[in-house]
């Protein structure tokens, strides 16, 4: 069993699996059950300022995208921050932290965009003994319309300003949670860093409409005949989240800034991928909401077995390991040539590769009258589409061509590494010899 203990910006937890700020962390009852199940930490459901709490809709608040057997692929919600009184939350946080000293407990906060509001809330949470705060600049619905959440998160200057206030009025470690509803995720991350944030966490949910009711002509979930956009999360958002994490991890200005990875983490493998791309730990919401707290047991055993297999003695061995291999398109090796190869022993002759290549790609697969499918090396551009549509794992593989061998498609020998920056077709190409 590998050592999974994690220290994220000085906050210790027995494993890198935290529950994200959301319904699973909205009260003591849930959080205690989560800790009993084995979660390493939680970010408490976002608190607002003193006063009457926000009100949620009483109609449905979730929409969903399913696979054929109703596997939940994506979830969207129009829930707001906690709708329980601040005082109740604070008492419960204190009681939980006292009972579970080895677990991480971070408080998520969202208050109006003025210094007094932030100063006040930070004071109120001071004696809970929580390990840190997470600033929720991400919530895309409801709160944004009141000048909070993603309304702040979409303006880097506000992020920097609020982060500065928080660091000024509190000694707690501060995580800034980013919204993905922005064109370049590096800008808010840079702003958080300038403001003094100890870490960023991402992603919060993505603006979305999951489906439209085609009888009542309203977005789902429908509340009394109307719907609104909600925040999208779950397995469907993972690719978007991974890219945003990688962008921050490899950006010169933010490189080294600790990242808490969020968005679609469902299995140990998802977690490991976020960590390889630079996340120090991960946070989970939808997977727990779909399957219950028990899933953390699979995450723990899976990550541990993987680390053992790889000979990693601590999570730090994994964190960021893939970052150097994330590059820009222009630096990819244009002289790397592969060809699709179909294993006839594994082929079940469905012809999907043929339909895909013949109809939509490069006409590089031949089909014989008795349904034998073969790749025409002289046409194959190695796009990988046949691999992606083939229902049989490893039936079609991409085989690299050795250096010096002639590529029958171009008639040229496979050469040494060379990328677009020096390519003759590139009008801006740098002349290599000069």
């Amino acid at each position: 069993m590998a050592d999974l203990t994690s220290s994220f910006i000085g906050i210790k937890s027995p494993n890198p699996f935290w529950l994200a700020s959301a319904p699973p962390t909205d009260k003591e009852y849930n959080v205690v059950r989560a800790f009993q199940a084995g979660w390493g930490g939680v970010v408490w459901k976002t608190l607002g300022s003193e006063g009457p709490p926000v009100v949620n809709v009483s109609g449905p608040r979730y929409g969903a995208v399913w696979g054929a057997d109703r596997r939940l692929l994506g979830l969207n919600n129009i829930e707001l921050i906690t709708d329980r009184p601040l005082e109740v939350n604070l008492q419960e946080i204190k009681s939980v932290k006292r009972a579970w000293k080895d677990r991480a407990l971070v408080i998520s906060l969202m208050v109006p965009c003025d210094e007094d509001s932030w100063k006040d809330i930070l004071k109120r949470i001071e004696d809970t003994e929580a390990d840190g705060v997470e600033l929720n600049f991400g919530c895309p619905h409801g709160m944004a319309e009141r000048g909070m959440g993603s309304a702040v998160g979409q303006v880097p200057e506000y992020i920097e300003m609020v982060t500065r206030w928080v660091k000024k009025h509190s000694r707690m470690p501060c995580i800034v949670k980013l919204t993905p509803n922005i064109s370049d995720i590096r800008r808010p991350a840079e702003a958080a860093k300038r403001g003094g944030a100890d870490a960023v966490s991402l992603i919060n949910t993505i603006n979305s409409i999951t489906s439209v009711n085609l009888d009542d002509f309203s977005p789902e979930p429908m509340i009394d005949g109307k719907g609104t956009h909600g925040g999208y999360c779950g397995p469907a958002v993972k690719p978007i989240a991974l890219n945003m994490v990688a962008e921050i991890a490899r950006n010169a200005e933010t490189h080294g800034l600790p990242i808490s990875g969020i968005g679609g983490v469902t299995t140990w493998r998802d977690a490991a991928e976020f960590m390889a791309l630079g996340a120090g730990n991960v946070q989970v919401c939808t997977a727990a909401m779909t399957y219950g707290f028990k899933i953390v047991q699979e995450m723990i055993s899976g990550l541990s077995d993987y680390m053992d297999r790889k000979g990693f003695t601590s999570t730090a061995d994994l964190v960021g390991r893939a970052v150097p291999n994330v590059t820009d398109w222009q630096y990819l090796n244009l002289n790397y040539v592969t060809k699709a190869q179909i294993s006839q022993a594994d082929c079940i002759q469905c012809g999907r590769c043929y339909a895909a290549c013949e109809d939509t790609s490069h006409q590089a697969i031949a089909m014989s009258p008795d349904r034998v499918f073969t790749v025409k090396d002289e046409e194959c551009v190695a796009c990988n589409l046949c691999v992606n549509v083939c229902p049989v794992e490893n039936c079609i593989t991409m085989v690299p061509m050795q250096k010096g061998v002639v590529d029958p498609r171009t008639g040229r020998k496979v050469g040494d590494y060379a990328n677009w920056t020096t390519h003759p077709n590139n009008p801006m190409s740098v002349k290599a010899a000069e």
């Binding site: 054929a68 079940i348 002759q349 012809g351 043929y354 349904r371 229902p391």
Partner: protein, 439 residues
């Protein structure tokens, strides 16, 4: 005392009254909407799909499955019916394990094909429940066509002709239309009076008059039809039955399996239908399996199928054979009956073992005797009542006079299956239409 499974002779009511409904209900329950979507999701939407090639009616299987997957079973049903108007019955009775499902690439890949038959049934059931017939008649052509036989071949032909706007009259010698769908198919394959419901639904297109109780050769001649109609289609199936050619086969208690099944299919109370205590079925096809399984379901104590060659030569598929075994039927291979014995009625059958060699089947000296109070002959149906002028070769209609077409079991080509009969009836209609319109 009421009868039981142990009562000797051929008697009714061997089982408790409640057993019959259960025994003769759908043997494969229908998929519900969710199950259908999950099953549909397994289809790979193959290019030039092998399942389509394997279907005698060329149903666009990947398309209809995709239509189910996207929540439009009615559209799926239209795809099916466009090629096969008896798609509902075929979904129930096709030996899919030797047709589309055998060809499915997932059969190759994992031995578990996409459940094409069950999916087809789902789509057609859902669409038929609305009781809206999806096709309409084309503009009237003023041409008339006689169809002889209201089996799958005749019905498919009549429907396609009606779609083209021709006026169709179907002549059927039995009291009800449907052919073997109504009188032959095992009841647990088409439970709930499906055959009759499907015929009613099919006729909703209009332009088809069915005249039951009218027999070609008895009530009218081919010449009459040729005179009164612009074209004639013969879909008369196989009305004769092969003889055992064993001593004593005329003893009471020996019957044709198809007659037993027809009685069973038409019985309104199965507890009143008599069956033997020890039943022996001779044959190796679907008829043998259906007679044997249904005897067992009626409460026979022992049921044995005896087939003269090995299991691989049986016309009943491996799936059908397993079905019989699971129902408690015993199957003995490589044995042939040579004598039926009994005092005034059948009591036993004497068998000789056989050897299937290069120069045909040889009876060996070794043999055995099976106790039997009922014996069913299921060794094949034969073509009878062929009108004059129609040429027969190899036991099937091989050529027809001008303006006469034939299809289904009575005609050469293809296996004797419901789906083949539908394909041939449909294609004959297209040929007739082309002929009548000079296209």
């Amino acid at each position: 005392m009421p009868n039981s499974q142990l009562t000797p002779g051929i008697v009714p009511g061997r089982l408790p009254a409640t057993a019959y409904d259960r025994n003769f209900d759908d043997h494969l329950p229908a998929l519900d909407a969710h199950e259908a979507r999950v099953a549909a999701d397994r289809c790979y939407f193959c290019h030039d799909a092998p399942c389509v090639t394997a279907c005698p009616t060329d149903i666009d299987i990947p398309l209809f499955i995709r239509q189910i997957a996207t929540g439009t079973p009615e559209a799926a049903a239209r795809t099916i019916w466009t090629q096969n108007i008896l798609g509902g019955m075929c979904a129930r009775v096709c030996p899919t394990e030797t047709l589309c499902e055998e060809a499915c690439v997932r059969q190759t890949a994992e031995g578990k094909p996409v459940e094409i038959g069950l999916l087809q049934r789902h789509a057609t059931d859902v669409a038929m429940a609305s009781n809206r017939h999806p096709f309409s008649r084309g503009p009237a052509t003023g041409k008339s066509v006689a169809v002889v036989g209201a089996g799958p071949a005749g019905l498919a032909c009549a429907h396609r002709l009606a779609m083209k706007g021709h006026e169709v009259t179907v002549f059927e010698r039995r009291p009800k239309p449907g052919g073997l769908n109504e009188y032959g198919i095992a009841s647990y394959k088409a439970a709930g009076g499906f055959a009759a419901r499907e015929v009613d639904w099919l006729l909703q297109i209009g332009g088809i008059t069915v005249k039951c109780g009218v027999e070609l050769g008895r009530d009218l001649t081919l010449a009459d039809l040729q005179r009164d109609f612009d074209a004639v289609f013969l879909g008369i199936g196989l009305q004769g039955v092969n003889a055992l050619r064993a001593e004593g086969e005329d003893l009471p208690g020996v019957a044709n399996a198809v007659d037993f099944i027809a009685d069973l299919r038409q019985s309104s109370d199965l507890s009143k239908l008599p069956v033997g205590r020890d039943v022996v079925v001779i044959g190796g096809g679907m008829t043998a399996v259906d007679a044997a399984v249904q005897s067992k379901l009626l409460g026979a104590e022992t049921v044995t199928i005896v087939y003269r060659r090995g299991p691989e030569k049986m016309a009943a598929s491996g799936y059908e054979q397993d079905h019989a075994l699971q129902a408690g039927v015993r199957i003995i291979h490589n044995a042939a009956p040579f004598r039926v014995t009994g005092n005034g009625r059948v009591e036993a059958v004497d068998f000789a073992y056989t050897e299937d060699g290069p120069d045909g089947l040889k009876l060996l000296d070794e043999g055995f005797t099976l106790k039997a109070d009922q014996v069913f002959k299921a060794i094949g149906q034969t073509l009878t009542g062929v009108p004059e002028g129609v040429m027969v070769a190899g036991g099937k209609i091989a050529a027809t006079p001008a303006r006469v077409w034939a299809g289904g079991d009575c005609a050469a080509g293809g296996e004797d299956l419901t789906v083949t009969a539908v394909a041939e009836g449909r294609d004959a209609a297209e040929a007739i239409h082309a002929f009548l319109t000079g296209a």
